[in-house]
C-alpha cells in the first residue's frame, strides 16, 4: 500500500524531470542520518581537538583540565624550538612540493607520448605509492648507509668521494635535510605523475596538431594548448601535495627521527613528541592549530595569486 503511493508520488514528481531526485528539500530527514557518521566521527573529534588547544590538558594528571584561553598560543609565540621546527617544516614542504611537481610534470609528458617503454615506466611509477612509508624510509636508509649504502659506493665509482670515505648523509648537519627532501620528492612522485597524466588526457589532440601545423614548437604548443587545460589540475595537485608534505610524519621519523640536532624535526614530529612523549596535549593541539592557520593563509595567497594569473593570461 505505502509502497504503491510512494511510487505514484515519485512518478508524479518524475514528470517534472528529476525534481524528485535533485531538489528534495523535504528529504532532510533522510539526509541528516546519513550525515551522522561525518558529524560524530569527523566534525566532533576535530572540534574537540580545536577546543583542547585552549586548555591545559595533560596526560596522566588527576586535576581536571581548565580553560586557559590563549595562553598556549602566547607560549607558542615565544617557543623558539617550535619556530625552528616550523621553519624546517616550510623548507621541507616547499623543497619537496616544487621539485616534485616539475619532475612529475616531465614524467607525465613523457608517458603521454607513444613511447615504447611506457608500460614498465607506469608500473614502476606506482611502486613508491603502494609502499608503506616506513618501508620507503627503511629503503632509503639502505641507500644512504655510510658503509653498505648505494650512494657512497656510486660516488666512489664516479671518483667523486674524497679520501674521507663513507659519508653519513642522514647524520650530517648539512646533508640531513636535503637527503630527507630527496626521499620526500621520490615518495610523492607517483601520485603527482598519475594525476597530471590524467589531466593531460583531457588535452584535445586535434588542437595540438592544428597548432603544430601553424609551425609552433614544442614549448609554444605546451604553453598555448597543454598548460591551459592542465592548469587547474596542477593547482589542485600542488596545493594538496603542500598540505600533505607539511603534515608528513612517518618518512622522517624513520629516516632521522628529527635528528641530527633537530635539523629535520618537522612540526609534526615536534608536536608528536610534545603530545605523546611529554603529555602536553593542550600545547600540542595549539601547535596543530597554528599549523592549520599558517597553511590556510599560505594556500589562500597561493591559490588567489594563481587564479588571478589565470584571468590575466
Amino acid at each position: 500500500m505505502t509502497l504503491a503511493t510512494a511510487q505514484r508520488r515519485s512518478t508524479a514528481a518524475g514528470s517534472g524531470r528529476t525534481a524528485g531526485l535533485r531538489r528534495d528539500h523535504g528529504a532532510w530527514f533522510l539526509v541528516l542520518p546519513a550525515l551522522l557518521p561525518i558529524l560524530v566521527l569527523s566534525v566532533g573529534p576535530l572540534l574537540y581537538g580545536i577546543g583542547l588547544a585552549f586548555t591545559d590538558a595533560q596526560s596522566g594528571r588527576t586535576r581536571s583540565t581548565r580553560w586557559t584561553g590563549l595562553l598556549n598560543f602566547s607560549d607558542l609565540l615565544h617557543d623558539t624550538l617550535f619556530w625552528d621546527s616550523f621553519r624546517i617544516g616550510l623548507l621541507w614542504a616547499v623543497g619537496v612540493t616544487v621539485p616534485q611537481f616539475f619532475l612529475a610534470l616531465g614524467l607525465a609528458l613523457l608517458l603521454n607520448l607513444d613511447l615504447r617503454m611506457r608500460w614498465p615506466a607506469r608500473a614502476l611509477a606506482i611502486i613508491p605509492w603502494a609502499m608503506p612509508e616506513v618501508v620507503v624510509g627503511i629503503m632509503w636508509r639502505l641507500v644512504y648507509h655510510p658503509d653498505a649504502g648505494f650512494l657512497n659506493e656510486a660516488l666512489r665509482g664516479l671518483g667523486l668521494s674524497g679520501a674521507t670515505g663513507g659519508r653519513d648523509w642522514l647524520s650530517g648537519l648539512a646533508t640531513a635535510l636535503p637527503a630527507v627532501i630527496v626521499v620526500g620528492v621520490w615518495a610523492g612522485m607517483p601520485q603527482t605523475t598519475v594525476s597530471l597524466l590524467a589531466g593531460l588526457q583531457n588535452v584535445p589532440q586535434e588542437l595540438h596538431e592544428a597548432v603544430a601545423m601553424d609551425g609552433a614548437g614544442a614549448w609554444r604548443r605546451f604553453r598555448t594548448v597543454t598548460w591551459p587545460v592542465l592548469r587547474p589540475i596542477a593547482l589542485a595537485v600542488t596545493a594538496l601535495n603542500f598540505i600533505w608534505n607539511v603534515n608528513s610524519f612517518a618518512l622522517v621519523y624513520v629516516l632521522t627521527d628529527g635528528g641530527p640536532g633537530g635539523r629535520t624535526r618537522l612540526p609534526m614530529l615536534f608536536a608528536y613528541e610534545e603530545a605523546f612523549r611529554y603529555g602536553q596535549f593542550g600545547y600540542a593541539a595549539a601547535m596543530g592549530l597554528a599549523m592549520v592557520a599558517v597553511i590556510s593563509v599560505l594556500l589562500a595567497v597561493y591559490l588567489a595569486g594563481r587564479l588571478k594569473g589565470a584571468d590575466d593570461a
Binding site: 546519513a34 569527523s42 627503511i138 653498505a148 609534526m268
Partner: protein
C-alpha cells in the same frame, strides 16, 4: 582527417624528430632509474649474506644470494603476528568505512541540499588538518572508553581517518550512475528500495570494492596512529614492528631489515596494482564533478 597531414609534417622534420625521440627515451630511462634504484637496492640487500653486507665495496648482485635474512627477520621480530594484526585492523576498518560511507555518499550525490554542500565542503577541509589535531582528541576519547592500546581503538581511528576519502570517492561513483536509470526503474514500478538494491547497487559494486581496497591498503601501510595507540608488542601492526629493526641507536641489522621491509610491501603492491586505475579515475570523477 588530420592523420595524413600529421604524417607529412612528421616526414618533413625527420632528422630533428629522431634526435627528439632519442632525447625522450634518454629522459624516460633516467626517470626509470631514479624510480627503480632504491627498490632494486632493497631487493639486493635482502638477499645478501652478512659477509657481503659488511664488505667495503657493496655490489648490486649478491655473489651468494641467500634466504637467510628472511629466516632471521622472522626470528628477530614477531612478523607474522604483526602481519595478522595489520590484516585484521585494515580489513575490519575498510569494511566498516564502506558500510558507513556508502549511504552517506549516495545521499550527498543525489540530494543537493545545503546539508550536503556543507558536508562535501567539510570532507575537503578536514584533509588540511594535521594528524596531531586528529589523534589528540581521539586518543582522549579512546582513553575514556579504555580503548587505547586495543585493536578496537585502532580500527575506530582508521574508520574516522578513511571516511572523508571514502566519501569523496564514492560520491563520484554514485554520480556516475545516471539518475535517469533510477527514474526508469521507478516508472517501471520499482519502489525506492527495490531500485536501490537491483539497479543502483550492482552498478556501484566495482567502485565500492576499489574504494574498500584502497582504504585497506592505506590502513595496512599506516604508521602514525598505530605508533601512538599501540604499546603492547603483541598488538602492534607491521609498520610499527618494522621500526624495531632499526634499534635504539639507529644501528640496524641490514639484511633482515631489508627482508622484512620487502615482505611488508608485497600485499599492498599486489592489491594496488589491481585497483590503481579505478582509484585515479574515481579521484578525478570526485574532483571534476564535485
Amino acid at each position: 582527417m588530420s592523420r595524413p597531414t600529421g604524417h607529412r609534417a612528421a616526414a618533413r622534420g625527420r632528422p630533428q624528430r629522431t634526435a627528439g625521440r632519442v632525447a625522450q627515451y634518454a629522459a624516460l630511462l633516467a626517470y626509470l632509474l631514479f624510480l627503480a634504484f632504491p627498490f632494486l637496492w632493497l631487493l639486493s640487500t635482502a638477499f645478501k649474506p652478512p659477509r657481503e653486507l659488511a664488505r667495503v665495496h657493496p655490489t648490486w648482485i649478491p655473489d651468494a644470494p641467500t634466504l637467510e635474512n628472511f629466516r632471521s627477520a622472522f626470528d628477530e621480530q614477531p612478523l607474522l603476528p604483526a602481519a595478522a594484526n595489520s590484516l585484521f585492523a585494515a580489513a575490519v576498518s575498510a569494511v566498516l568505512a564502506m558500510v558507513l560511507a556508502t549511504p552517506t555518499a549516495y545521499v550527498l550525490a543525489r540530494h543537493r541540499s545545503r546539508f550536503s554542500h556543507a558536508a562535501t565542503g567539510w570532507v575537503v577541509i578536514s584533509q588540511a588538518f594535521p594528524l596531531v589535531l586528529v589523534i589528540i582528541p581521539l586518543f582522549l576519547i579512546l582513553k575514556n572508553l579504555q580503548l587505547v592500546d586495543s585493536r578496537g581503538g585502532l580500527i575506530l581511528v582508521y574508520v574516522v581517518w578513511s571516511l572523508p576519502f571514502a566519501l569523496w570517492m564514492l560520491t563520484g561513483y554514485v554520480r556516475a550512475v545516471p539518475p535517469e536509470l533510477e527514474e526508469a526503474a521507478a516508472v517501471d514500478g520499482a519502489g525506492r528500495l527495490r531500485t536501490l538494491v537491483s539497479v543502483t547497487a550492482p552498478l556501484l559494486v566495482p567502485g565500492i570494492v576499489a574504494t574498500a581496497l584502497f582504504a585497506f591498503i592505506t590502513a595496512w601501510n599506516e604508521f602514525f596512529f598505530a605508533l601512538v595507540l599501540l604499546k603492547s608488542p603483541g598488538k602492534q601492526t607491521l609498520p610499527v614492528v618494522l621500526t624495531h629493526f632499526l634499534g635504539s641507536e639507529g644501528v640496524a641489522d641490514l639484511g633482515p631489515l631489508a627482508a622484512a621491509a620487502l615482505l611488508a610491501t608485497l600485499p599492498g603492491l599486489v592489491l594496488f596494482a589491481a585497483v590503481q586505475r579505478r582509484i585515479t579515475g574515481g579521484m578525478l570523477a570526485g574532483a571534476v564533478k564535485g
